[in-house]
């Protein structure tokens, strides 16, 4: 997302387009000749579609999203997972790689444990998850730290083509996995590193709708970095193997 001056926010019911210039996209509705916003957010036009990018509120699950969830219950066919937001999510046994025996399910993913998972299907009142993926980031979280942010701030934490998230990773020398549902997993060699990454993220979240965010973040990092942390050399980006 481009860094601009504070974009104009529209409120529910506000007319964002007249006539047939555009087709109504996410969080908009046709009302007579007009298209209105039905949610607080920022207007975005893409091709012939006009939609609202929400900036507040609970997480809206999307197919393909990588998210972090908490195991709530184990049934015969899989695991019930809490991913935040108003709908329950389910990880079917068949969506896990390899063969897992029924009485081994608790050991693989136990109640109260956190997993990095992907949304496979979004139905009217429920969500299906999967652990099958070509990239290796899905799996159980064993160590590290979890930070919760409003899911709508996630794009800012990631930044344009990952620029912001890489800035955080380098400054704190941590591995960071961002869940689209607002849960962020930080893993580093010490708790000081992780706590520092957490604080950078909190700074970003408190200052998202401003111009020059990247420069402000860089400045904040220089001013607040504990002496004990050594940055990662910018050339490396290890990919971690997660079980």
């Amino acid at each position: 997302m481009a860094t601009k001056t504070k974009k104009e926010i529209v409120i529910p019911g506000e007319i964002i387009s007249k006539g047939s210039d555009f087709l109504p996209g996410d969080w908009t509705m046709k009302q007579g000749d007009n298209i209105i916003a039905i949610r607080l957010g920022i207007v975005e036009k893409y091709d012939k579609i006009i939609k609202i990018i929400p900036i507040t509120g609970v997480y809206i699950p999307r197919r393909g999203n990588t998210i972090i969830g908490e195991i709530k219950d184990i049934t015969m066919n899989g695991w019930m997972v809490d991913i935040g937001g108003p709908y329950s999510a389910f990880l079917p046994l068949r969506e896990c790689p390899g063969f897992i025996e029924q009485n081994d399910m608790e050991n693989v993913y136990g109640i109260g444990e956190l997993i990095v998972t992907r949304i496979f299907d979004v139905k009217r009142t429920s969500i299906d998850l999967t652990m099958k993926s070509r990239d290796r980031e899905l799996g159980k979280i064993q160590d590290g730290m979890i930070v919760r942010v409003n899911p709508h701030r996630v794009p800012r934490v990631i930044g344009k083509e990952g620029s912001m998230i890489n800035l955080i990773k380098n400054a704190s020398n941590c591995y960071i996995t961002v869940g689209q549902n607002g849960l962020i997993w930080i893993n580093g060699e010490s708790i000081e590193n992780q706590a520092f990454a957490k604080r950078i993220i909190e700074y970003i979240v408190d200052n998202t709708i401003t111009e020059g965010l990247t420069e402000n973040v860089e400045k904040w990092i220089v001013e607040n970095k504990p002496a004990s942390i050594k940055s990662k050399p910018k050339s490396e980006e290890k990919v971690e193997e997660i079980q």
């Binding site: 109260g112 444990e113 730290m145 979890i146 708790i191 000081e192």
Partner: protein, 276 residues
């Protein structure tokens, strides 16, 4: 509602004496005080510690005294854990938490001699003033006892009597006098709750830290720098404390109490200036 992994993080951070938000074990979050949040109350204040916010309103009433305290006014403390302030609070009868918190705060004030109850007597044996200390949470991010207790004291210090018509024996609500409540300011009690995790003690926890803590001790103290007096104490939670631990907590409390006392006096001076 704390993740297992977060428990580990908090435990590790506290054990290393550097908390997740960078604070030391005995550091408070930034404290923000705003007086006069309800102009209908005889005295009112909002206190924030970090993101936790509690408001307090003092209301006065006139009643018959208790039979064993015929020449003294009465006092009642209530703490409402408003569902507005947390997804974990529900409607219904006051929870054990809200009752315990109110009672801890109440005892500290009552025992300290801060309020001169005899000066609240209107007609011996027949009519006395009642002070209602009403607390309500606006946002819960931990440490409600201390924030509530501080709000109660600040509200009492800025409260003034409503007009009382001696002939009709009724209060003219909405009409205030300039007369402050009869307080012995040198006996002002301040509360600090010390939380325990493993063998570490810390103050002013966030909600996350408080949910992980194993036990707590609240101490209400008065008389800074001159033979400090403990007016109330309460241990809560499952953990146990050794006598040495309690001893060192009291030592720490004396230091924290001094800092808090200075803060309170500064804020009250500012308020007086602003009110003129």
């Amino acid at each position: 509602m704390v993740y297992k992994i977060t428990r580990k993080n908090v435990l590790e951070a506290v054990t290393k004496e550097k908390r997740l938000d960078g604070r030391g074990l005995l550091d408070h979050r930034p404290i923000e005080i705003k007086f006069g949040v309800s102009n209908k109350a005889e005295g009112s204040v909002s206190v924030k510690m970090g993101k936790t916010e509690v408001v307090c309103g003092i209301k006065m009433g006139v009643a018959e005294p208790y039979t064993d305290h015929e020449g003294e006014g009465t006092m009642m403390t209530t703490m409402e854990l408003l569902p507005l302030s947390s997804p974990n609070f529900e409607y219904g009868a006051p929870s054990v938490n809200s009752v315990e918190t109110a009672r801890i705060i109440d005892r500290g004030i009552r025992e300290s001699g801060f309020i001169d109850f005899e000066k609240l007597c209107i007609k011996d044996g027949e009519k006395v003033w009642s002070i209602f200390i009403d607390l309500a949470t606006i946002n819960d991010d931990g440490n409600l006892i201390d924030v509530g207790a501080l709000a109660a004291i600040l509200a009492l210090r800025t409260a003034r009597f409503p007009e009382y018509d001696e002939k009709t024996e009724r209060i003219n609500f909405g009409e205030f006098t300039d007369k402050k409540l009869p307080l012995n300011e040198d006996k002002m009690p301040l509360t600090t709750t010390f939380f325990k995790l493993g063998d570490k003690i810390f103050v002013d926890p966030t909600r996350e830290e408080e949910d992980v803590a194993e036990g707590r001790i609240s101490i209400e103290m008065s008389k800074p720098g001159k033979d400090e007096m403990i007016n109330a104490m309460q241990k809560g939670g499952d953990a146990s404390f050794s006598a040495e631990e309690i001893g060192s907590i009291i030592e720490e409390e004396i230091k924290v109490f001094k800092k808090l006392n200075t803060l309170v006096e500064d804020e009250l001076k500012k308020e007086k200036k602003g009110a003129k």
